[in-house]
Structure formats: C-alpha cells, structure tokens
C-alpha cells in the first residue's frame, strides 16, 4: 500500500530523511517511532504529497509520488500534529469545508456520520474554539476520515489529550483497523504503539529497525524466562549455563533469569536439569521487555 525506496529529503545543509525504504501492507497499522526532530513529520509530509523528496521514489496507494500527487492527497487522510481547526466556525462547518474540498458525494451525511461516531453531534453548532483539546482532536480525526480514505496518516493522535479521550481515540483507531484501512501512526506513546501496531519502524533520520514489536524485543534482548525456585545454590547458575541453547543466566535471590531464543522448546530441558539438581520450581514466567526498552536501546545506539 505504501512503498518507498531510498526516499530522501535534504533541506539545504540538513538531511531530514535519509534513504528510507519501507513497504507497508494494506490493512496494516504501522508505527513510526522516533525522537523529536527525527524526520517523522517530514516523512509524513512527503508521503501525503505535501512536499517533494530530494531523492528516491514512493508509491502511495498505487500512485506515484511526484506524478499523481493530487490522487495521493485524495486517497489519504491526514491528522496533523496540531488539529488546525477554524476556531471561529462551528464543528459542523469545519467538516463541511473539507467535505466540499474532497468532493465528498454526500457531504451532509458524511459530516453527520462522523460527528455522531465521535460523540460530537450534540455540539455540532458550537464553535470549534470552545472545544476541549480532546474534542478538537476528535473533530480533526473526523475531518481526516470524511472522504473515506483507505490510508490514514496520524501524527501524534493522542498527544496532549486526557487519558479518557486518548483511550477513545485508540479504540477508534482499532475500529479503523478492523475496517481494513492502512494506518501510518507517528507516536511518542510507546505503549500505544505496542498495542495498536502490527509493525514498528524506529526512525532517526534513517530507519534504524523495522519489525513487529515482539520480534524487536526478541532481536534486541532475546527472551527472558524467570524460574522461581524454593532455594538458591551458588553453583546453580553455572550448571544451568552449560546448556548449549542458553545465552545468559542471572541469579537474583531465589530466581533464575534465563535468556534463550526458544523457550517453548527448551524450557522442559531446563526444568529437568533443575529438578535433577534437587531444586523445586515454584513458578515459571516470561519477563517481557517494554517497547520503551527497545526504543531507548535503538535510539541511544544510533
């Protein structure tokens, strides 16, 4: 659905995006993570045909960037970093303008549909300026969806809004995903990315890594299994470490934290080994690294 090849953007002496190559499948929710100033917004602006690349190519929804820009803009919905609403105009009229600009066939119906869907129908005649941050964000999301675009670019959709509104927005993104829309999600909220995204790209001028959140954890940290034992012996860690499939063993109080690639296959052997050494196993669990750990590991080493 979205393919880029060596997409590059240079502003005078500053390289904002460096040879970005990605392939986002139809219906996929792709999380685009990176620190401030990493070039995420520049990437979104290129992919939504707002600015042109300095080098490289991209196809968005089958359309060629640079040739079919108007068609690209027609087929994507963009939620910008700030809602950018007309504060003096009513919520309904804010959407009406965009319905007209996108050439929506049933503008009134579409405006009503999304105002109702996002719980803003009762406030449709109120000026957008009187809305809370969360309501403004919802109105901006409605605006991005009016023309039913198959692809959505969401730049920080839950930034600066209260937890309740953020949850509503996240639930809404989940609904959009169920409808089969392709979503390009820029976010700083790593928990959000972990829950919503099929794949994640960590970006800092160039793409550092791209995979599913689970694979990223695995690649960077391996999988860590925690064995809670009835007692701890000094030689236990060394004995277990001898097993060929184990990368690392840490003994912490009555726990052994074992790093390995394939616990489903090798856990029974570890259990046998421990029982053979006269140890009782009370509980086994997996220690999950947060996406935040993955993110910091990547960004700091970049």
């Amino acid at each position: 659905m979205i393919q880029t090849e060596n997409l590059t953007k240079q502003f005078h002496n500053m390289l904002a995006v460096d040879h970005l190559t990605i392939n986002i499948k139809e219906g996929e929710v792709f999380g685009f993570l990176g620190p401030n100033g990493a070039g995420k917004t520049t990437t979104v602006r290129m992919l939504t045909a707002l600015i042109g690349p300095s080098q490289g190519t991209a196809r968005v929804g089958g359309y060629q960037l640079g040739k079919d820009d108007k068609l690209i803009r027609q087929s994507v919905g963009l939620l910008t970093e700030t809602p950018g609403l007309y504060d003096n105009l009513s919520a309904e009229y804010n959407l009406q303008i965009y319905a007209d600009l996108y050439g929506v066939k049933n503008p009134k119906g579409q405006v009503e549909k999304y105002l109702r869907m996002l719980g803003l129908w009762e406030r449709r005649f109120d000026s957008a300026g009187t809305f809370s941050k969360g309501m403004k964000q919802k109105l901006a999301i409605a605006r991005a969806l009016l023309h039913e675009p198959p692809m959505l670019f969401l730049d920080e959709p839950t930034a600066g809004i209260d937890p309740e509104a953020a949850r509503l927005v996240r639930d809404f993104i989940t609904e959009l995903r169920k409808e089969g829309r392709t979503i390009f999600l820029c976010t700083h909220n790593l928990d959000e990315a972990d829950h919503l995204c099929d794949r994640i790209g960590v970006f800092k001028t160039r793409l550092l890594v791209m995979d599913t959140p689970e694979q990223l954890r695995k690649q960077l940290f391996g999988r860590k299994i925690v064995f809670h034992l009835n007692k701890m012996e000094p030689s236990l860690a060394k004995n277990v470490e001898k097993l060929p499939f184990i990368h690392e063993v840490q003994a912490i109080e009555n726990k052994l934290v074992i790093t390995l690639d394939d616990p489903e296959t090798h856990n029974p052997e570890i259990v046998r080994q421990l029982v053979g050494l006269g140890i009782d196993i009370q509980f086994i669990g997996e220690l999950r690294h947060s996406l935040e750990d993955v993110y910091f590991q990547l960004v700091r080493s970049a």
Binding site: F11, R45, T48, L50, I51, G52, K70, R73, Q74, V76, L78, T80, T82, P83, G84, L85, Y86, D87, N88, L89, Y93, I97, Y98, D100, L101, Y102, G103, A140, R143, A144
Partner: protein, 263 residues
C-alpha cells in the same frame, strides 16, 4: 471552481467575524465618503469664495473647467483631494482581510490540513485573493455610488456635478481601484510568509498606502494634478506592478514553501 467557492465562503464566514476586519470594510469607506459630502454641504453653493482666496495651486486654475466660477472650482479642488484619499479604500480593506486570512490560518496551523486536500495551490491563492479583493472592490464601488448620489443631491449646478464626477475618477474607481486591491493582496501574501501576527502583517502591508499619500500631498502642495492622463498612467503602472507581484506571490505560495520556509 467549486473549491474556489468553498474557500471564498469559508474566508468570508471566518474573517467577517473579526471586528477589525468588519470595521475596515464598513466604516472606512463610509468615513471617506462622508467627509467629501460634508465638505460639499459645508461649502454649499457659496460662489463668493474666489480661486485666489482659496490659494489654489496655479496648475489647478488652468485645470478647472471654464464654465465654473471660482467658488465652484474650489469645491472641485477640495473634492479632488478627498477623491485621492478615497483610493485608500481598495488598498486598506484587502490588506486587512488578507492579513487576517493568511496569517490567521498560519498561526492557527490550519494551512497544513488544508494543503493536504486535493485543492491546488493556485485555487487556494485565487480563493483567498478573491475573498480579499471582492469586498474591497464592492465597498469602493458602493461608497463611490453613495458619493455620486449624495453630491447629485447636494450640488444644484449640473456643470459642477459633472466636474466632480468626471471621467478620471470613474477610471480611478473602476480600473485603478481593483488593480490597487490586487496589489494590496499580493503584498499581504508576501508579508504573511514572514510574519506570524495578523496585526503585524496588516501594519506592514499598509506600506501600500504610501504612494496614495504621496499623491495626496503632491496634489495638495501643487506639485502635480491628478488628471485623466495621470490616472491612466497609474493604471498602466499598476498593471505592470500587479503582474510582477502575482508572479512573486505564486512562487511564494507553494505547498513546500509554505510548510518549510514560511516562518
């Protein structure tokens, strides 16, 4: 065309909610119409005022139609001064509207979502320009029409009336006015690219009124007279200036430039 209409409607709905804009569109033309009418009422048909008493510039004496007497010539002279001031209307109104419309949108960060729609930048620029030019031109025409009707009622001498509303002023209002309005909008677009406060943009854009003030003081001090030739020459020069300014504004009003270089 539909998209231009959408932008036009949106601009008017938004911009006329601003009191500053409303004031400049409604009151400025009214004030600049009321002053010359007030002068005509004040002077009445007092033919006792001689040209020499009024200390009119010499060139103007020659310019005053022979059928008019000294006092009437004085009225023509006075009204001529204010007709120059009247040309502020097609400059000030669009500069104010365009400043609020473009810088307002810029500071509100609503330009990016707007540019993300399939609208072309030329459609957007035309929509925004027309939103500023049309009210200015209509206000100028309406105010001039009020002045024409008012002076027809006030002035009993038909010769004097025709001297007041002669071809040069018709040319000035109907041709030079819209050209001036276009110039003011294009200057505002350029100023808007560098300024983030609508009031600052409005004040800087007001630099376009300086030539009118120069003409006003030039005529008052007798350096020159605004005659038909002068108005015609102004129209030609303004056409050239407008072409250059439109070219520059179009170059500046591009998606990438707006998003990456407008500060």
């Amino acid at each position: 065309m539909k998209k231009i209409k959408t932008i036009l409607k949106k601009e008017w709905k938004e911009v006329f909610k601003n009191r500053m804009v409303l004031f400049s569109v409604v009151f400025l033309p009214l004030i600049l119409t009321a002053i010359p009418l007030g002068i005509l009422i004040g002077l009445g048909n007092d033919t006792a005022i001689s040209a020499t008493d009024a200390e009119m510039p010499e060139q103007f004496n020659a310019f005053c139609p022979p059928s008019l007497q000294g006092g009437e010539c004085f009225q023509v002279f006075m009204i001529s001064q204010f007709m120059v001031m009247f040309m502020l209307v097609p400059l000030a109104i669009p500069a104010t509207i365009a400043a609020y419309s473009i810088v307002g949108e810029k500071s509100n960060r609503s330009l990016e979502p707007l540019l993300a729609t399939p609208i072309s930048t030329s459609e957007l620029l035309i929509g925004k320009s027309l939103a500023a030019v049309i009210p200015a031109v209509l206000a100028t025409f309406a105010a001039f029409a009020i002045f024409v009707v008012g002076s027809w009622i006030i002035v009993s001498n038909q010769q004097l009336f025709l001297a007041l509303i002669d071809a040069r002023w018709l040319l000035a209002i109907l041709v030079v006015g819209p050209l001036m309005a276009l110039m003011a909008v294009m200057v505002s677009v350029m100023v808007s690219s560098r300024v983030n406060d609508p009031r600052a943009a409005e004040q800087i854009s007001m630099v376009v009124i300086l030539p009118v003030l120069a003409v006003f003081f030039g005529q008052v001090s007798g350096i020159f007279i605004v005659n038909s030739k002068f108005v015609l020459l102004s129209a030609l020069v303004l056409t050239g200036i407008d072409l250059v300014l439109v070219y520059m504004a179009v170059r500046l009003f591009q998606r990438e430039t707006i998003l990456t270089r407008w500060k």
